[in-house]
């Protein structure tokens, strides 16, 4: 609900100035009022992140509401999550470096940073998998504690979003490997960077919630 409200306020601020136009009064002026001068993929990504934010907020709301019902026992998140978190932070940093390198035109650094970002993210996923394994035997997953089930559900959905990001990353890397110029992958690198920061923020919120409740 809060997400929806916040999204509503943002959209409102963005469009409020244009919504007061008296469109019936000024025929004859073509003006510049076409679409927003922004790459479609960039708008698409931001809209998608709004959808994903709504999804994760609802999962978290469901988690918090379910907590207050019966048969809930707290589960300490596996310690490996701290390592995983730092891996994802480093991946974000690597993407940020790649983004900077694209702007400076340093092809070598773009390649190495992108590779580092991808490898760190894969390591993060592997770490998450280990965390799953660690929790599975200690508690009954099937018919077991809803806290464990929620842990698997929340990390699983986040992991799927990371996999989606890696697919986009794979496409950028493939284009770069196929000899594309930096200018052709610039947008892709920028969008990956934005998305990785988003994934990191979502993960930090999830991790904080799972650790403190």
């Amino acid at each position: 609900m809060f997400t929806a409200l916040i999204a509503g306020v943002i959209v409102w601020l963005l469009v409020a100035s244009r919504l007061t136009a008296r469109s019936w009064e000024d025929p004859g002026e073509a003006g510049n009022g076409g679409g927003v001068a922004m790459a479609p993929a960039r708008i698409g990504l931001w809209v998608f992140m709004a959808v994903a934010t709504s999804l994760f907020s609802l999962f978290l709301s469901a988690y918090l509401m379910r907590m207050h019902h019966g048969f809930w026992c707290h589960v300490d998140p596996p310690r490996i999550l701290w390592l995983n978190t730092s891996l994802l932070v480093l991946a974000s940093v690597a993407f940020q470096r790649a983004r900077g390198a694209v702007d400076r035109g340093q092809k070598g650094q773009v390649r190495s940073s992108l590779a580092a970002g991808g490898v760190l993210t894969l390591a993060f996923l592997a770490g998450q998998f280990l965390a799953w394994r660690e929790l599975a035997p200690t508690m009954y997953f099937i018919q077991g504690s809803p806290a464990t089930a929620s842990f698997h559900l929340l990390t699983g959905v986040h992991g799927l979003h990371v996999l989606g990001g890696l697919w986009a990353w794979g496409r950028v890397v493939a284009r770069l490997g196929g000899g594309a110029e930096l200018i052709d992958v610039r947008l892709g690198v920028q969008l990956c960077t934005v998305y990785w920061h988003f994934l990191l923020v979502v993960w930090l919120v999830l991790f904080a919630t799972l650790s403190t409740t």
Partner: protein
């Protein structure tokens, strides 16, 4: 630097080479073909749901007559009828069908900004429909949990389709949401980014405003359904306890403990209420354009109409618990949700007044699309007014679970949007197919449908006030109900069969006119919006020929004083004569 429309920067002035049959009609990335694909599939499943409702009316009108309908079948019919109509027909046809067809044409773009994803959206939707229909053929049949799928009963043995049926339903919903998200990203991005030169937000036709806002609602609300579908699937398959409390079922304790059925209801209705407006807002937008065009008059209060659409969209997220007054909640919550619910009446009433004022002293052409648009005002006002009753907790509690509610929501979100869909199909059919439909058949279809729906749903309100409960397979001998209730039920059923048969007229008209209809002129309604100004009818792939249109005015310049024709298309630069805000011609 010469202005290059954003929509043209990617495509350039590319020439679309002829593609093979498969890429033109099956794996098509053309928004118009995708729209028609969405339309055909949605209308097909809609017919399945119509047949299901006919079977339900057979049972309700003439209980103890048809041995092939048992209570389990009846619940399965109810569930599938509701789910198909709301999601797979209305949502898909308004957004996937009309959204796809109208957005690029009305904002002056060559196509959606992500055509490949648009194609994928349709095929994933098709998959969702296949999975849904597959549930008719699995052991146990489709789920009979009611379209709200409330746990715990939805997954407990004893409910029809509690095994595979409910799983397939949840999986199908999940797939549908993926399809919708892909389509929705396209609609929002195209409207924001690919508008042609001069098409400011406040020059967009109201159809686009309705579709745009509804898509944003869908993108933010469908995740709630996804969350509940995923959690319920886990409850049903792996035995987790998100929604399932400890249950003693048929003498056995199930493994669940501590889950919260109420949590499901909150999640479901956090999606379910915006869903009403996901269906209603495109209808509001489209009906505004139909009324204005066929009354040859500018829409009354355009800016207010846009704001009302946005306000309704925002408010729709804070009213969901009015579906749960009888589920048990803190009275203060009930008070809060009753207040927000009644506040929605304000922007909605503004829209109704503006529609009526648009008609007032207009040059009304009673074409078939216009008749459906005016019919919509009637059914929507009736359905909306009963909504004011039900929005109050104290009125809702006794009426809840009676036929009053059935009458209300069918009037407001069943019949009303469907009338707009019919109007819209008749209105844009000449552009889509290049042919005109048969007018006499169209008018017959309108009168049978419009009067027929009143014969069906108006008596339901009386049944509800008498206390006839909904969801019952048969009333049996019930002391508090007079004998006349059964007569009314029979007459409702007969009206329902007539209305159902009338839809065959509609289908026949659509299909027959494809070959035998009169050739349509490019702009038979003399409308101002861009889709009527395309160089070809039906528009070719790429829509606009070598150059994109430029927009000089809003979409409602009908009967402009002093103008030569009674309409000025949006891309007409005009003779340089401006108007003041009061519709007077400036003295030059």
């Amino acid at each position: 630097m010469a202005y290059v429309a954003i929509a043209d920067r990617d495509h350039g002035a590319e020439h679309h080479e002829p593609l093979g049959f498969v890429r033109t009609y099956i794996w098509s990335q053309d928004h118009k073909v995708i729209a028609i694909q969405y339309g055909i599939v949605a209308i097909f499943v809609g017919l399945v749901a119509l047949v299901l409702s006919g079977l339900m009316r057979l049972q309700l009108g003439f209980p103890d007559t048809f041995s092939f309908i048992d209570p389990n079948d009846y619940y399965q019919f109810i569930t599938m009828h509701g789910m198909i109509m709301v999601i797979y027909l209305l949502t898909a046809l308004f957004l996937g069908g009309f959204g796809n067809y109208l957005i690029p044409l009305m904002v002056g773009a060559r196509d959606m900004v992500f055509p490949y994803m648009n194609m994928l959206s349709f095929w994933v939707y098709f998959l969702a429909v296949l999975v849904l229909l597959a549930s008719f053929f699995v052991p146990g049949g489709p789920t009979g949990a009611g379209w709200t799928l409330y746990p715990p009963q939805a997954v407990l043995p004893g409910t029809p389709g509690a095994g595979l049926g409910i799983i397939l339903m949840l999986v199908s919903l999940g797939i549908f949401i993926v399809a919708f998200t892909m389509g929705g990203l396209n609609y929002v991005t195209t409207i924001l980014q690919a508008r042609c030169r001069g098409m400011t937000l406040m020059r967009m036709p109201l159809s686009i405003w309705g579709i745009f806002t509804a898509t944003i609602l869908g993108l933010l609300a469908f995740p709630a359904l996804l969350v509940s579908a995923i959690m319920m699937t886990l409850d049903a398959t792996l035995g987790t306890s998100f929604f399932m409390p400890a249950v003693l079922s048929q003498g056995e304790t199930l493994g669940h403990q501590g889950g919260s059925p109420l949590l499901f209801q909150h999640l479901f209705w956090f999606f379910g209420h915006p869903e009403v407006y996901i269906v209603a807002l495109p209808a509001f937008g489209i009906v505004s354009d139909l009324l204005s065009t066929h009354a040859r008059k500018n829409i009354f209060g355009y800016r207010m109409m846009v704001w009302a659409i946005v306000a309704i969209g925002g408010l729709s997220f804070v009213v969901w618990a009015h579906h749960m007054y009888v589920s048990g909640m803190n009275p203060y919550f009930g008070f809060f949700f009753a207040t927000t619910t009644l506040i929605i009446a304000v922007p909605t009433a503004i829209k109704v007044y503006n529609w009526v004022l648009t008609l007032w002293r207009g040059d009304i052409h009673l074409n078939v699309p216009m008749m459906f648009a005016i019919g919509f005002i009637f059914t929507f006002v009736h359905g909306g007014l009963t909504g004011l009753f039900l929005g109050n907790v104290t009125v809702d509690v006794p009426l809840s679970d009676t036929y009053f509610v059935v009458g209300h929501f069918h009037m407001v979100m069943g019949v009303s949007p469907v009338l707009v869909l019919f109007g819209a199909i008749y209105h844009w059919y000449p552009k889509i197919s290049g042919r005109m439909w048969n007018e006499a058949l169209g008018k017959l279809h309108f009168w049978l449908t419009f009067l027929g729906t009143y014969a069906i749903y108006l008596p339901m309100h009386y049944l509800g006030i008498l206390g006839v409960p909904r969801r019952y397979y048969a009333l049996g001998t019930t002391d508090f109900l007079p004998e006349s209730v059964h007569a009314v039920n029979a007459s409702i059923s007969i009206a329902a069969f007539v209305v159902a048969a009338a839809q065959l007229l509609f289908l026949f008209n659509l299909i027959w006119s494809l070959r035998h209809g009169e050739r349509a002129s490019p702009n038979p309604w003399r409308a101002t919006t861009l889709e009527w100004q395309t160089p070809d009818t039906p528009p070719k792939h790429g829509n606009w020929g070598p150059e994109l249109p430029t927009v000089y005015r809003w979409a409602y310049d009908y009967s402009v004083p002093g103008a030569a024709a009674d309409f000025i298309p949006q891309n007409d630069p005009g003779d340089g004569r401006g108007r003041t805000g009061h519709g007077e011609v400036k003295a030059s």
